[in-house]
C-alpha cells in the first residue's frame, strides 16, 4: 500500500460544488471522490459515476430466498416427512406463501446489507483516511488525485477561484486498514506526509 498525493478542496455549499465539479472535470483533472455530509442527489452523475447495481443484487438474493423456502418446504413436506394434516394435500402451496415471502425479504435484506458493506468496505474496526473531519458535518470535500505533471499550487488556486473555501495538499493511504479512531497510527516507518 503506497501513499498518494491529493489536492483537497472544501466547499460549503452544494450550489457552488456542482459547477466546480463540472469545471474541474472539463479542465482534465481526475476527481478521486467528493465526500459529503449527506446524499447530494445528482452528484454521482456529475462525477460521471455509473449507476449502482446493488438493487440487482438485492433481486437475486430475494429470489434465492423464495426458492430456498419453496424447495426446502416442499422437500420436507412431500418427501422427507409427509405429515398427514387432516387429509390435506402434502403439497400445500397457499399455506407456504407467508414463509416464502418472509424468506424472500430476509435474504434480500441481509444479502444487500452485507454486499453494501463489502462494496463500501464498511465493518467495525475498519479505519480509512479522512481528508477533512468536517466532511461528515457541513463541508463538501473534493479530492483530486495528483499525477507527476500536476502543479499543486495552480490546482489549489483553480479550486479557490471556483468557490473552495479551503484547499490543502495531503499524502494519503487510499485503502482501509484495521485501526482505532482515537489513535493516529503511522502505518509504515517514515510514511508521514
Amino acid at each position: 500500500m503506497a501513499k498518494k498525493k491529493f489536492v483537497v478542496g472544501c466547499f460549503d455549499n452544494e450550489d457552488v460544488l456542482f459547477p466546480a465539479v463540472k469545471k474541474v472535470r472539463t479542465t482534465g483533472y481526475k476527481i478521486k471522490d467528493v465526500f459529503t455530509p449527506f446524499a447530494v442527489h445528482g452528484l454521482d452523475h456529475a462525477l460521471g459515476m455509473r449507476e449502482t447495481s446493488l438493487h440487482t443484487a438485492g433481486f437475486i438474493y430475494g429470489i434465492t430466498g423464495t426458492t430456498t423456502a419453496l424447495s426446502c418446504i416442499s422437500w420436507i413436506f412431500t418427501k422427507d416427512w409427509p405429515l398427514d394434516i387432516g387429509g390435506k394435500p402434502h403439497f400445500a402451496l397457499p399455506a407456504w406463501i407467508p414463509i416464502m415471502f418472509e424468506l424472500t425479504v430476509l435474504f434480500a435484506a441481509v444479502g444487500m446489507v452485507l454486499t453494501f458493506c463489502y462494496l463500501c468496505q464498511l465493518a467495525p474496526f475498519v479505519k480509512k483516511h479522512h481528508f477533512h473531519l468536517r466532511a461528515t458535518d457541513d463541508l463538501f470535500v473534493m479530492v483530486i488525485e495528483c499525477t507527476e505533471n500536476t502543479n499543486t499550487e495552480d490546482l489549489k488556486a483553480f479550486l479557490t477561484n471556483n468557490g473552495a473555501i479551503e484547499t490543502d495538499v495531503q499524502m494519503a493511504e487510499e485503502g482501509w486498514w484495521i485501526g482505532r479512531y482515537d489513535k493516529d497510527e503511522v502505518l509504515f516507518e517514515g510514511a508521514t506526509a
Binding site: A39, A95, F116, T136
Partner: protein, 479 residues
Amino acid sequence: MSVKYESQLREPLVYGNKTYHDVTEDIVRPIEAKPSKLWYIGFYISVCLLMFGVYSVYREVTYGIGQWNLNKTIGWGWDITNFVWWVGIGHAGTLISAILLLFRQGWRTGVNRAAEAMTIFAVMCAGQFPIFHMGRVWMAFFVLPYPNSRGPLWVNFNSPLLWDVFAISTYFTVSLLFWYSGLIPDFATVRDRAKTKLRKHLYGVAAFGWTGSTKHWQRHESLSLVLAGLSTPLVLSVHTIVSFDFATSVIPGWHTTIFPPYFVAGAIFSGFAMVQSLMVVVRKVFGLTDYITMGHIEAMNKVIVLTGSIVGIAYLTELFMGWYSQNKYEGYTFWYSRANLFSPYGWSYWGMMACNVLSPQIFWFRKMRRNLFVTFFMSVLVNIGMWFERFVIIVTSIYRDYLPSSWSVYYSPSIWEIGFYLGTFGLFFTCFFLFAKYFPTIAIAEIKYVLKTTGESYKDNMATIEQKQADEFAHEYAH
C-alpha cells in the same frame, strides 16, 4: 423531472435559521452532554421494572406456567395479549421509515430514527411472550426447522404459529438492518467531532469507517430505497400473519376474514400513539422542537384519527356480521360476551370502544391535533384502548367454549403475569433511554438533505425556484 423545492405554502419541516452545522450541533448535543437528573431517574425506574420482570420470568421458568392464572379454557391470556400489543406498537417505525419514504412524505425525516428504534425495542418485548409462554423455554429452539435427531421431525409449515416465528424474526432482522444502515453516517458525524478518546473509539467502531464518499452515498441511497420497498409489504405481512393466528382458527370471534386489514390498521394506530407519547417528551427534553415540529405531531394525529376510524369500522362490521351470519355462536360472542356491558368482560369491550373509536374523533379539530397535552393524553389512551382490543379478541372469544361444562371462571392475572408485562415496559424504556442518550435521535444526514428544501429560512427563495422549475417543465413538455 421532479420539483426540487417544496411549495411555499407548506409548513416548514425545520424551524429556525439553521445551517448544516447547526443541525449537527443540535442533534449531537444530547450525546455529548452529561445526562440530566430526569434521565437518571427515568433510567433507574426502567431498570427496576426490568428487574421485576426478570424475577417474574424466573418464577415462571422455575415453577412453570401455573404461576400465571391461565387455565384450560383461557389458554391465551395476558401473555398473548401483550405479545400482540407490543408487535402492534412495533409497526409504526417501519411504517414511518418505509411506507412514508415511498410516498415521499418529507415529514418522516424528523421522527423516523426514534420510531425505528421504538419498533426494534417493541419487537424485542413482543418476542418474550410467545417464547416464555412455551413453558419449557429451554426447548424454544424446537420452533426452528433444522435437521434434527428427532426423526428429523420438522415443524409444521402450514401452521400460522410457525409463520409467526418467521414473520417476527424477519421483521426484527430487517428493521434492525434498516435502522443501523441509516445510523452509520450519523455515527460517523459523532465520531468526527468527538472530543474524548473513548467516544472517538466507540463511535469509530460503530460507524464502520464511513467516510461520506459519493459512491458510498449512492449505494446507501439505493440500499435505503430497496429496504424501504421490502419493508413495506413486510410490515403489512407481519401483523397480517399475527392476525392469521386467530383468523385461521374456528373459534367464534377469531374466525373472521377482516382480521388482516383490521389488525394492520390497529397496529399502525397503536404504533403512532406510542411514537407520539415518546416524541412529545423527547422533543422537549432534548430541545429538538425545531425538528419535531407541531406539523409532525399534527401529521401523526391525522394518521391516528384515520386508523382509529378504520378499526372502528372493523368493530362495527364484526357486530353486524355477528347478527347477519345468523350463527348463534358468533352472535353469542359478539352480542353477549362483548357488546353486553353487563357480561363478565363487557367492560373491556366498552373500554376499547371508548378509547379507540370515540375519543380519537377529537382529532378532527385542528386545534386539538396541535395541542401537546391533548396529543399526549390521547396517545396514552389509545394504547390502553389497543391493549383492551387484544384482550377483548383473545379472552372474550375463548372464555365460554362451545361446551358449557368447560366455561371458565373469571380470569384475572397473577402478580407474575403482571410482573412480566411490567418487565417488558422496563426492557423497552431501558433500551429507549440508552438510545436517547447515546444515539442520534434524529437522522442527521436526512435532515440535512431536506434542510434547503423545507427549512424555514430557505422558504423565501422557493417561490422563484418553483416558478423557474415550472417554466422549465413546461418548456420541456412543449418540445
